[in-house]
């Protein structure tokens, strides 16, 4: 019940605040994938029996399998409990996908990049460019498919795929090279004057920090590991890594033109996101049955949880409309947070 609501909230936000930028066109794809996940889950439940519960809906014959597949049953009686369990399971995953999709189609990846610490800037740029390649690929595919019909192509089979892929990839490669050349010609990746010892210090700090973080989180999650390692290592790792970032950042002479500021709309959006997360956590602590529905009963719903989810709608109306300059990504944060809450 809660999941359906959550999905609706995400959809509403997207519909209300979506721009026509290339990255915004992918939301429909996410919806389709989410639906496929739900359907697959249910189908698998039916196919690979292992049913429990006693409300038999459909009595299918069980197909005997050879010995090496012991433990796996094919078909067999279908019970409403296991069917519902599959459905809920699928919906959980589906809702997660829809939320990620919403965040993806609302956020402008390039603005996200602008908020990265300077030390990560170069890696971030590579990632953002890789991301922005996909909509471009979709555009090329369309163009090439259309052009192919002019040649009277039969258009089926492996050959047809190749006929599309070759020109599209060439186009993508040419575009990437042009972009890379342009970025290079405009000074991307100029390094400041940093002495060799400093560079060594930076590297050591970053590596040590990462090792600390790894060991720390392992000890934290694995209860059998000595607990002495957990918190101190985690904190130590964070400190070292931050120090590494700061020194690495000094190497970069880049500055920022008009950094994004936190204005009311952004604050409100982030605020509602946090509120949704907190409220949902509290609500679910009080009434765990809302989150983990027992397949045998009608899904429960608590008032608090309902309020929590509905709060997520606020940014859909409180944020400014994406104008031509598309300041749209403010709305993505609640979606991301809701996902955590879910």
């Amino acid at each position: 019940m809660l999941l359906v609501l959550l999905t609706l909230v995400a959809c509403l936000t997207v519909v209300a605040r979506r721009s026509d930028a290339p990255w915004a066109l992918s939301f429909r794809l996410y919806l389709v994938v989410a639906l496929v996940v739900v359907v697959l889950r249910v189908v698998f439940r039916v196919l690979l029996g292992g049913q429990y519960g006693d409300t038999v809906l459909l009595d299918l014959p069980e197909i005997p399998l050879p010995d090496f597949a012991a433990g796996i049953t094919l078909l067999g009686p279908v019970t409403s409990e296991s069917l519902l369990f599959g459905l809920y399971d699928g919906m959980r995953l589906g809702a997660l996908l829809v939320c990620v999709g919403a965040a993806n189609s609302l956020a402008n990846p390039k603005r996200l990049l602008a908020s990265l610490p300077p030390a990560l800037y170069e890696v971030g740029t590579a990632v953002v460019i890789a991301l922005s390649l996909f909509p471009q690929l979709a555009e090329s595919v369309q163009r090439v498919r259309r052009a192919r019909r002019l040649r009277g192509d039969p258009g089926r089979g492996i050959g047809a795929l190749r006929r599309i892929v070759v020109p599209v990839l060439e186009d993508a490669l040419e575009r990437s090279l042009a972009l890379a050349a342009s970025m290079d010609a405009r000074g991307y990746g100029r390094s400041g004057n940093l002495s060799a010892p400093w560079r060594r210090v930076t590297g050591t700090l970053l590596v040590a920090g990462l090792v600390g973080l790894c060991v720390g989180s392992y000890a934290f999650l694995d209860s059998t590991a000595p607990q002495v390692l957990a918190w101190p290592m985690l904190v130590g790792g964070v400190v070292l890594a931050v120090a590494g970032f700061v020194t690495a950042g000094r190497r970069v002479t880049r500055t920022r033109y008009r950094p994004d500021r936190w204005r009311p709309a952004e604050l409100l959006t982030a605020g509602t996101g946090i509120a949704v997360a907190v409220l949902a956590t509290v609500a679910l602590r009080q009434r765990p049955d809302v989150a983990y529905t027992d397949p045998a009963t009608w899904p429960a719903l608590s008032g608090l949880a309902l309020v929590a989810v509905l709060l997520g709608v606020v940014p859909a109306f409180a944020t400014p409309l994406p104008a031509d300059q598309a300041r749209t990504d403010a709305a993505d944060e609640p979606a991301a947070r809701e996902e955590v809450a879910a």
């Binding site: 390039k110 163009r143 020109p167 290079d184 010609a185 405009r186 880049r254 031509d324």
Partner: protein, 532 residues
């Protein structure tokens, strides 16, 4: 005068190429000079320009011998990014080089990389917005700008870095005449106002020549330099005005339309009245379209356009970038969208026919012709085309040999020059024996000579009784090949009729000969015929 760029005995060979692309280039460009680079397509103009900031060989591979010094720094010791504050480089296709999404961010991008203070950045962005006249576009998304606006933003995005040298590689090749005038006018002003050193390759030479201090001519790997007028006498590429000057034996050679007009009185008298346009006998209409409308979402790309193409006639479709020319051609071919209206080719609607049938009615060569090529060699492409159109073996190869003789069948289609690629695609399309041939922006990337070849091909097609539609914003080309012209704006037809009348009506679309000798004269060839 200090030296800005110095090529020091430069020889450059692309990897695997048997011959060097540039050979023994030894030249200097002084500070605040505007130098125009001319030469046929594929002779190494771009290569020469790109050696200046090290994009060649760093992005292309190949062997560079000798040295290039920019502002006293060698490209051997400095990477492209380290030269970014000295050299501003602007390429042909601005949309492919944009890194950010909006005009203001794009202008600031380079300065961010240089690490300038936020105050300085704000000030320079404002200065450049005003200088280029794009202040009202500051918050616009780059994708939504017109071609001319995009190119001006691309120029602005390097100007904010205050480079000492501006390198422009055919900045107007993708633009319609009005947008190109815009960009070139802006550049001319920059040279006057800022005293920048500018190095540019440009095929609309006549706009730049008045400001150019020197001309570099690239031919067969050799680069020669000299004063503009002298070099133009022998340059392998020249605008129609210069050709007219050479033909009439004027000295000194006129380089602008204005120059030529002042000199042309005697010639105009000698020539007499313009030749009556040789109208082909009005053949039966092969293609008749009525009220064609194409919509994409809420935008109407083509609004109730009616055209007819007769057998043996060439119809030119002209108009600004984005005026609906391509959409119209695709709709007429039957593969593209058509939301309303009727199209009839020999009594059949290509939109309702199977793709195979449609392409035997109307053959279309799209703007990015290379999209149709995907095989490993020219011969394979030709064989595939024969199979696909159920034509006898060798049909396509014969067509190709007639269009562009001497293309090696083992060559990879992507390695051909733009003109050869176009000929190959045209041969593939013609293999299906279409009655009407539509060409979308075929002159893009072609030099004067390749355009002449294309013009001959087009005339040959109509001589065989076909109808031809050519969408183009190349005025001189349309003046040469078309019998009738349709001018589109905002998806509607604003004027249509015989080529000499329509082109003479509008100053933006008038070819140079009509500007010099008056309406009625369209091409240098006409003048040549009368004189001979």
């Amino acid at each position: 005068m200090t030296t800005m760029v110095r090529w020091h005995d430069l020889t450059f060979t692309y990897e695997g190429a048997p011959e060097p692309t540039l050979r023994g280039v030894d030249l200097e460009v002084a500070e605040s000079e505007l130098v125009l680079v001319a030469g046929r397509t594929g002779t190494g103009k771009s290569t020469l320009l790109r050696t200046v900031n090290g994009l060649v060989p760093r992005f292309t591979g190949g062997l560079l011998e000798g040295d290039v010094l920019v502002g006293g720094r060698s490209v051997r010791d400095h990477t492209t990014r380290e030269l970014a504050h000295l050299v501003g480089y602007v390429g042909q296709d601005p949309l492919r080089t944009f890194v950010t999404d909006t005009v203001e961010e794009e202008l600031a991008y380079g300065m961010e990389q240089l690490g300038l203070e936020p105050q300085t950045m704000r000030r320079r962005v404002e200065e450049v917005l005003d200088l280029l006249g794009i202040a009202d576009l500051r918050h616009r998304a780059l994708r939504t700008l017109s071609g001319g606006q995009q190119q001006r933003v691309a120029i602005g995005s390097v100007l904010t870095m205050h480079p000492r040298l501006l390198v422009l590689d055919e900045p107007t090749s993708a633009l319609d005449p009005t947008a190109a005038e815009d960009v070139l006018g802006t550049l001319a002003r920059l040279v006057e106002d800022l005293g920048l050193t500018v190095l540019m390759a440009e095929h609309r030479m006549e706009r730049v020549i008045p400001f150019a201090d020197r001309l570099l001519v690239v031919q067969d790997g050799e680069v020669t330099a000299g004063p503009t007028r002298e070099m133009l006498l022998t340059s392998p590429v020249a605008p129609p005005v210069v050709e007219l000057g050479r033909l009439a034996g004027w000295a000194p050679l006129p380089v602008t339309v204005r120059d030529a007009r002042r000199r042309s009185r005697a010639l105009a008298e000698a020539l007499g009245s313009p030749p009556a346009a040789v109208r082909p006998p009005a053949g039966r209409p092969l293609l008749r379209a009525d009220g064609v409308t194409v919509r994409y979402g809420r935008t109407v790309a083509v609004r109730e356009v009616s055209v007819s193409v007769g057998a043996g006639t060439v119809v030119g479709v002209m108009g600004r970038n984005g005026s609906g020319k391509s959409s119209l051609l695709w709709a007429l071919q039957g593969t593209g969208r058509r939301d309303a209206g009727t199209v009839e080719v020999l009594g059949e609607d290509p939109g309702g026919a199977t793709p195979a049938r449609a392409r035997s009615l109307v053959g279309l060569v799209p703007q990015t012709a290379a999209d149709l090529l995907y095989l490993e060699s020219v011969d394979e492409e030709c064989r595939a085309a024969d199979r696909q159109s159920e034509a006898p073996d060798g049909t396509c190869r014969d067509l190709l040999d007639r269009l562009a003789p001497g293309i090696d069948g083992d060559h990879h289609p992507r390695d051909l020059s733009e003109g050869q690629q176009l000929a190959l695609v045209l041969a593939l399309v013609l293999t299906a024996r279409p009655r009407v041939v539509a060409l979308d922006e075929p002159t893009r990337g072609l030099d004067y000579e390749a355009k002449e070849m294309l013009g001959r091909i087009v005339r040959q097609l109509v001589a065989e009784g076909r109808g031809v539609l050519v969408a183009s914003h190349d005025v001189e080309f349309v003046a040469r090949v078309a019998d009738e012209v349709v001018v589109m704006a905002g998806g509607e037809v604003v004027s249509a009729g015989p080529v000499d009348r329509v082109l003479a009506e509008s100053p933006a679309f008038a070819p140079q000969m009509s500007k010099i000798l008056g309406p009625g004269w369209l091409t240098v060839d006409q003048v040549r015929e009368v004189l001979v």
